[in-house]
């Protein structure tokens, strides 16, 4: 039960309290660029959630087995090659290059798969899929996972990485869909000429960020509620 409640907390933290867009400012480009209509915004959100999940699984595996300090694979290779016993190999300097490779190729594979097997979904995703490669939210999720794989005594498992990735993706979907809803109404409003477009969108985002600050502390409440449930 311990793990389940910690997973729920990671999920809520990524989706609401530390929302990727409104707290960490990652994924601002699609947040401002693709938030004119609710349908496209929701599609973008789903596409990002999908890619974030796949990229996180891959980068967790790469980090856990190869890149983190004290990872098993490089040490094994080192010993097979005839290196000294007990050597430690730290390849974390390669992480960024590896992650960008993982993200670019997983976007490529997802695109091929969706085009081949889900043509309907493909037409609704449209140009968003290739654009996702340069979406900072995905690299950010990989970096957060990497941060939790540095300390060998408290390593994140795949389930924790997945909770963070799916939470972050859903948080992104929530933020961009809300934004699109507001902007659809905003088209009818009388906005000062200079603020039209990005200006007013950023101010709306600021007010949304204030609203999302209200989620601070929700994690503690959920934690207590879960503890009470488990205790009973």
């Amino acid at each position: 039960m311990e793990t389940v409640s910690s997973l729920i907390l990671i999920f809520i933290g990524a989706a609401l309290i530390n929302n990727f867009v409104l707290h960490y400012f990652v994924g601002i480009c699609p947040f401002l660029g693709v938030s004119r209509k609710i349908e496209t915004a929701f599609g973008m959100g789903l596409a990002v959630t999908f890619v974030i999940t796949i990229a996180s699984i891959l980068s967790w595996a790469f980090t856990y087995y190869i890149l983190r300090p004290g990872a098993p694979l490089p040490v094994w290779v080192w010993q097979v090659m005839g290196g000294a016993e007990g050597a430690t190999v730290d390849l974390s300097v390669l992480s960024y290059i590896m992650y960008i490779f993982v993200i670019a190729s997983s976007v490529q594979f997802v695109e091929m798969y969706v085009r081949k097997f889900q043509p309907k979904l493909y037409t609704s995703f449209g140009v968003f899929l290739p654009l996702i490669t340069t979406n900072c939210a995905i690299l950010f999720a990989c970096l957060e996972i990497m941060k939790h794989l540095q300390d060998p005594t408290r390593l994140w498992g795949l389930h924790e990485a997945l909770a963070l990735a799916i939470g972050g993706g859903i948080g992104f979907t929530i933020a961009i869909s809300l934004m699109a809803g507001i902007r659809e109404e905003l088209d009818l409003a009388d906005v000062p000429a200079a603020l039209k477009g990005a200006g007013i969108a950023l101010i709306v985002a600021g007010i949304m960020a204030m609203a999302f600050m209200g989620f601070t502390g929700v994690d503690r409440g959920v934690e207590q509620a879960l503890a009470a449930l488990i205790g009973r």
């Binding site: 400012f25 601002i28 960024y96 900072c136 000429a193 969108a201 101010i203 985002a205 600021g206 960020a209």
Partner: protein
């Protein structure tokens, strides 16, 4: 390539007429995330400038070898290499700052500003022009970061570069150094820049 801008034009364009943040809305994540104080903003601008200049140099040097379908991958890997160098450098010599900037240093890799300069300028023009373009764009980016950070730090904590400017009686507007302040400041500054630009162009037409 006579229709391409010259080095001097590229340099000047980057600073104001094509300012990466105010005109092209590129590189928004660092613009919003690290501008709660002048020090992180300037460090970020320096790191971005290093990566932008180096990647423009490399891309311009290898522009004859680029294959169209692989060029984006080449750009990204070049940028990722220099970001790794910048990140290691910050971690070695400015440890506290590197901790404060956190994930935003590696996130320079996906800063659209750098990849767009590689695509628009460096992959088409000679070394000198590419360097001039990178320096101009970096200055424009630094200017934008500094302007936002100035507003946020002065209103949010009453200081500028950590030096107290508004006196001890200033009730710090906490919201300005928190995420909402970033969105509000950038939105209003963008509106201001737009309004200023429009007024100047209309005055030029009538006068």
């Amino acid at each position: 390539m006579s229709d391409q801008p010259t080095a001097a034009e590229r340099f000047l364009n980057g600073i104001l007429p094509e300012n990466p943040v105010y005109r092209q809305l590129l590189g928004m994540c660092p613009t919003l995330a690290v501008t709660n104080g002048m020090k992180p903003a300037i460090t970020m601008a320096g790191a971005t400038a290093f990566v932008l200049i180096m990647s423009n140099i490399i891309v311009s040097l290898i522009r004859g070898l680029l294959k169209p379908h692989l060029r984006i991958l080449v750009f990204t890997l070049t940028i990722a290499t220099f970001v790794t160098i910048a990140d290691r450098f910050l971690a070695a010599y400015m440890y506290d700052m590197s901790k404060q900037l956190g994930p935003y240093v590696p996130l320079i890799i996906v800063n659209c500003l750098i990849i767009s300069r590689a695509e628009i300028c460096a992959s088409k023009q000679s070394l000198g022009t590419a360097v001039a373009d990178a320096v101009g764009m970096s200055l424009g980016f630094a200017l934008a970061l500094a302007s936002i950070a100035t507003v946020r730090e002065i209103l949010g904590s009453g200081t500028w570069f950590g030096i107290n400017v508004l006196g001890t009686g200033w009730p710090a507007w906490g919201i300005m150094v928190l995420p909402p302040g970033a969105f509000l400041t950038l939105g209003l500054l963008l509106g201001g820049a737009e309004w200023f630009g429009k007024r100047r162009s209309s005055r030029a037409q009538t006068g």
